[in-house]
Symmetry: C2
Subunit: 353 residues, 2 copies
């Protein structure tokens, strides 16, 4: 298996390092052979190669079975013109690899639930998966430009039926592996694209008779995520809606620093990254929380390599260290022991080897 | 002053009736003369006239100084083709009157804060105003259509610079009347329209030197509304973003049934409606909460008629009845007294006359 490592910016290289150590432990224990190639993306790529997404990086990722990405971005590049911004590297690699399905599982950890902004009785038991369409919709539709006189501007939300079908299929399948309830989120009372989206979901229902389906307007969903997060199992939605709702959902359980994500296409190739950002303020200090990156690695083992057992071992190891009270500075654990990136990784490794 | 009443569907006519009584009390006390014209919109208009927005209604609104709207929508019309849906009436009247500025104040009531899904220490003290652009953006851009073969679909997010300028001006002015902090929400790392939006905000800053300005990405804003709602004063944003964020914000303080809204243009003409919907399940039972409609009426007195004193009296009357423990079934007030629409209105009137 070929794995491309894209450390990126800020704490990216520190957490990628942790992920690599966990993978080394897994390969040793289970006798797998993974080959690693490290490439630049984001701000470091701008500094080194004058572009956030060098051709070299794209080529390497195209040949890989999976990509692990740390984080991109930082104040250093915030004033850059838009084609020289770190995020363009991320958007570019998702698009060039055709990673249309962004999976964001959000589940509370009992040790962290007390730092949720929500009341315990509201958030307790919430366990949801947001399936966000990632290569179409408002992010990539053309035209997306300003007029010559600079006085008008346009962006485009466009979809082919086939693009909606494949993400909806993906979400139904994800629901089948979980609690079998799918909430499709759209704005069908206003947008034409949402009407097609809703039609496709209705058509696909017949193929997944074991899954119950509900349609929700995006404004209602934004409310329900807060008032009744436990009502959700799998949510499927357009790219921009998914960006907003998944970030909204990410703060519900008080464990933003713990959330992994996967961006997939149908042949199993995927890019895995933590939901948290590059945290430039703590970069290089050895205090970054590696757990979201490690959990992203578990998702890679599961989704790209079909190594379910190995994925479970990694996820259980993370749960175990939290249960043992170890935590990094971003996590508020009562009576816990504060550790740095290396020590936290070592604790995870103890349960993996 | 000419006021058009659009009761609409569900509980709309009950709460409009309450608003009218409150206005009658105000006109009597202060010797104003308001003239009322009642017209159909939404589902009732579909049933009566075959369209959710009859020409008659539009004409009457065009001649009015202000419009009070109850609510539109209900299961009866949910399966209708899109041009025969109640919401089209609402979207249509906003657009034909050119009501580009949607103001949604969200403030907790001490008596209701305990029913917030958020922890008390997170939500306590939050008091924010969302200024949503209402006649442009993703809601109204063309093309918005399906291809002939039915296999592709497009919606358009379009803005003229002048459309952004006027809503940003409106938001800056709103901020000047409040705590003088403006958060402009966009997705400037992805959308061209957001880049122009951000530029306009930067240009306008100089005209309002007393207001501090912050830019926030829409995904970050969706998080911050939950984790730190008290950080916000005024938020200004695009139509679709505003729809999502204002509904998200509406559940924070546990008082969804209490939230008013105003949709304005620059000459002061405005449409005022409660944020809650038509509540078909309780329609006609005399139990609807009229307070959001009454508070919308206070906004009318302030924004369209510049009757600040009268507006304050109405708002204080609402606060007083809550303080006295009266509440409708949608509000959870400890040791309070449950009352119906009429009794609640009567209690408000006691403090207005
Ligand atoms: C960095 C940004 C372009 C990106 C997005 O909007 O997709 C991020 O917010 C995310 O959700 O992964
Ligand atoms: C009914 C619907 C079209 C409307 C909107 O999306 O604007 C509503 O959600 C609102 O926010 O007033």
């Amino acid at each position: 298996k070929q794995i491309v490592l894209l450390p990126g910016d800020g704490i990216g290289s520190e957490v990628i390092q942790s992920a690599k150590q966990v993978l080394d432990a897994i390969t040793e224990r289970f006798n797998h052979t993974f080959t690693y190639h490290t490439h630049d993306i984001g701000g470091v790529a701008i500094d080194q190669h004058g572009t956030p997404l060098p051709q070299d990086t794209v080529r390497a990722c195209e040949q890989a079975d999976a990509v692990l990405l740390g984080a991109v971005g930082g104040p250093k590049w915030d004033q850059n013109p838009s084609h020289l911004r770190p995020e363009k590297g991320l958007l570019g690699i998702r698009k060039s690899l055709g990673l249309f399905a962004n999976l964001r599982p959000i589940k509370g950890f009992p040790q962290l639930l007390h730092s949720s902004p929500l009341k315990h009785e509201v958030v307790d038991g919430s366990d949801l998966l947001i399936v966000r369409e990632l290569t179409g919709g408002l992010y990539f539709g053309k035209p997306s430009e300003r007029s010559h006189d600079g006085n008008s501007v346009v962006d485009t939300l466009a979809y082919e039926r086939s693009e909606i079908e494949r993400i909806v299929d993906n979400a139904f399948k994800s629901a089948q592996l979980r609690r079998k309830h799918l909430t499709s989120v759209d704005k069908a009372n206003v947008l034409e694209s949402s009407k097609l989206w809703r039609e496709v979901v209705e058509e696909k229902k017949a193929d997944y008779p074991d899954v119950t389906v509900e349609h929700q307007l995006v404004d209602a969903a934004a409310m329900k995520l807060i008032t009744a997060p436990t009502d959700f199992d799998v949510i499927v939605t357009e790219n921009m809606f998914g960006d907003i709702l998944s970030d909204e959902a990410s703060v519900l359980t008080g464990s933003l620093g713990m959330l992994p994500s996967a961006s997939l296409r149908d042949d199993g190739v995927g890019l895995y990254e933590p939901v948290h950002g590059s945290a430039p303020d703590i970069a290089g200090k050895g205090v970054a929380n590696p757990l979201a990156m490690i959990l992203s690695t578990a998702m890679m083992l599961r989704h790209s390599f079909h190594l379910e057992k190995e994925a479970n071992i990694v996820e259980e190891a993370v749960q175990q260290v939290l249960q043992d009270g170890y935590h990094t500075g971003d996590l508020d654990v009562k009576n816990g022991q504060l550790v740095g990136t290396k020590e936290m990784t070592r604790r995870v490794l103890e349960h993996v080897t």
